[in-house]
């Protein structure tokens, strides 16, 4: 039975036209509906993977895994959250599992997401720093995000881009909510530092160049 959705879940991820019908059809094994769901969500899932992994080949592999997982687990989707939120959570968990398998399995992310002193934002609070000139353009921000140390990037993407709450991030990353808040703050400070000198940001293969 479909649970009545909470309207609050859809502030960020409003339902997409044709999505609900495709979900129900796909649950009944309709192959065209699988294809429709892939078409609707492939770009957002892929860019999420790419931002988390910073590697096109791995991002494609994880996109593939995420959709295969989705199609196998679709029957358990009850509509209690927006479909895209559910799908993105599933994707994040798969990517994190992949990263743990790659070598983060011996210590918790609580320890490994803390970057070195060198990577940390400079503690220049109180000094008269040049302020960012108003808005930040999308392409420059994308490049700056790609330049963040992995731990900062992970929390920033999950919170500020994907819209997950600190308690959700803490659960995903196996860290405390305080750690998530602190990492996010440091990530934003580091981004401010990087965005003050955009000409020094290295070009990164993938989505931000294509978004020009």
């Amino acid at each position: 039975m479909q649970t009545k959705p909470n309207p609050g879940f859809f502030k960020r991820n409003p339902p997409i036209e044709g999505e609900a019908e495709a979900i129900e059809r796909a649950k009944n094994g309709d192959a065209d509906a699988f294809s429709k769901l892939y078409a609707l969500h492939k770009r957002r899932v892929y860019t999420l993977c790419l931002r988390m992994l910073g590697n096109v080949s791995e991002a494609e592999d994880m996109t593939q895994e995420a959709f295969l997982h989705l199609f196998r687990k679709l029957g358990s989707f009850r509509g209690e959250s927006a479909f895209s939120t559910w799908l993105h959570r599933l994707t994040v968990n798969l990517v994190l599992m992949h990263l743990r398998k790659k070598g983060l399995n011996l210590v918790s992310l609580e320890e490994t997401i803390n970057p070195s002193e060198e990577d940390a934002p400079k503690r220049d609070f109180g000094s008269r720093d040049p302020q960012l000139a108003g808005s930040v353009d999308r392409v420059t921000l994308e490049r700056a995000v790609a330049s963040l140390p992995p731990g900062y990037r992970m929390v920033f993407v999950l919170h500020d881009v994907e819209g997950f709450e600190h308690n959700e991030i803490a659960s995903m990353l196996e860290c405390s909510t305080g750690n998530s808040k602190s990492q996010l703050h440091k990530a934003r400070l580091k981004l401010r530092e990087l965005l003050r000198q955009p000409e020094k940001l290295p070009p990164v293969a993938g989505l931000q160049e294509a978004a020009r």
Partner: protein
């Protein structure tokens, strides 16, 4: 994390304010830069006001990254990804259309 309930923002230093910032941003409820509770502090600490404004700009602009824009190659996975998904689903007994994934 710092306890916000006992903090006096009218008298604290910039360094003390920094310690509260992660919690203040996590609190939500609109822009800190426009919150009257911090008006006096920002007036006496304009560099803190600039920092908060910048961090708010970064967080706001980050939301725009959620939705990919443009049709250029590079914003979506290659056709091979759908092809691999199809093959795997076929093994599991689900036949999908070859042109799946096209908008």
């Amino acid at each position: 994390m710092k306890d916000l309930s006992t903090a006096n923002f009218d008298t604290m230093t910039a360094a003390e304010f920094e310690e509260y910032l992660p919690e203040l941003f996590a609190m939500g409820g609109g822009r800190l830069s426009e919150n009257p509770r911090f008006a006096v502090f920002f007036q006496t600490n304009p560099y803190c006001a600039a920092l908060v404004s910048d961090l708010e700009t970064i967080a706001e602009q980050a939301r725009s990254l959620f939705e990919p824009v443009g049709d250029e190659e590079g914003l979506e996975p290659s056709d091979e990804v759908w092809s691999n998904i199809r093959s795997q689903l076929a093994v599991e007994g689900i036949e999908t259309p070859p042109d799946g994934g096209k908008d």
